[in-house]
Amino acid sequence: MSLLAALALAAGIGVQRLAGMFLLGPVIRRRPALSRVADLIPVAVVTAVIMQLGFASGRTLVLDARAVGLAAAAVAVWRRTPLIVVVLVAASSTALVRLAS
């Protein structure tokens, strides 16, 4: 990546981040009904990131050992186990499936 393109990428991302903090954020704060929007936005975005990391390879949908790990993680989350346990359960079950196949 050329230096100029890298700087343009970083600048564009910086502008988006600052606009969210200083322009859009205060608008939402003045309208309390909109605060629930701000609550739910990260849920949607984080869910999408999980799907992308767990069930895709580039632009192809893939069902592999990661799905097993995430299913195990979902059970661990449902059982209210701490984050570190959730992560260990996910990683070890994914590793075991890969070992077996």
């Binding site: 990546m1 050329s2 393109a5 890298a6 700087l7 343009a8 990428l9 970083a10 564009g12 991302i13 910086g14 981040r17 600052l18 606009a19 969210g20 903090m21 200083f22 859009l24 954020g25 939402i28 704060r29 629930r36 701000a38 609550d39 739910l40 936005i41 990260p42 849920v43 949607a44 975005v45 984080v46 869910t47 999408a48 990131v49 999980i50 992308q52 990391l53 069930f55 895709a56 632009r59 192809t60 949908l61 990661r66 790990g69 995430l70 993680a73 979902a74 661990a76 989350v77 059982r79 209210r80 984050l83 992560v87 359960v89 996910a90 990683a91 070890s92 079950s93 590793a95 890969r98």
Partner: protein
């Protein structure tokens, strides 16, 4: 590095590798990063500090730090947790690169150890509080479906933006708790 958005850099490199133009690569990098602008909106609501500190927070906001910070009950706690997680992430990010360079050839493929599910599993655990709320669970369910449908159809970044459609359903429901799981 400077944008603290590894996925944007990956998107940029991926488009360039597929012989896309610099402009197309930049746009997809920005699209992938749009979630950080959204995270800043959320953080802006809960972080009550001076402008320079708000700017610094906006520029470093990532999913785990924002998600954990906004679950805190008081403004002081939001601020403390936000910076503690951010410091932890910066240290891990830098030491991760260093460790990768040194141990890369020793450990080999991280997939053997299942390390590629660590990030999504941690994210799942982090949003679990919201998933126990009726509106949060509905939002996540719709977001997941929309994202999976869009992944093969649209360029990188669009599936993540499309997941915001989940809010259309989530906002129609009450933010009441769902009785799930033991305890």
């Amino acid at each position: 590095m400077i944008s603290f958005s590894a996925t944007s850099q990956l998107a940029f490199v991926a488009v360039r590798a597929a012989e896309g133009t610099v402009v197309a690569a930049l746009v997809s990098g920005w699209l992938v990063a749009s979630r950080f602008g959204v995270l800043s909106i959320t953080l802006s609501n809960r972080l009550r500090v001076r402008p320079w500190e708000r700017a610094a927070a906006a520029l470093t906001a990532v999913d785990p730090s924002v998600a954990l910070a906004i679950q805190q009950p008081s403004a002081d706690r939001v601020r403390a947790v936000y910076w503690r997680i951010t410091a932890f992430l910066v240290v891990s990010y830098l030491s991760g690169i260093t460790t990768g360079l040194v141990l890369g050839s020793v450990i080999g493929d991280i997939r053997v150890w299942g390390l590629d599910v660590v990030f999504p599993a941690a994210l799942l655990s982090i949003i679990s509080g919201m998933l126990r709320r009726r509106d949060g669970a509905a939002t996540a369910a719709v977001a997941a479906v929309v994202c999976v449908v869009l992944i093969p159809l649209t360029p990188g970044g669009v599936p993540i933006l499309g997941s915001l459609l989940g809010l259309l359903v989530g906002l129609r429901l009450r933010p009441t708790a769902i009785a799930t799981g033991p305890g």
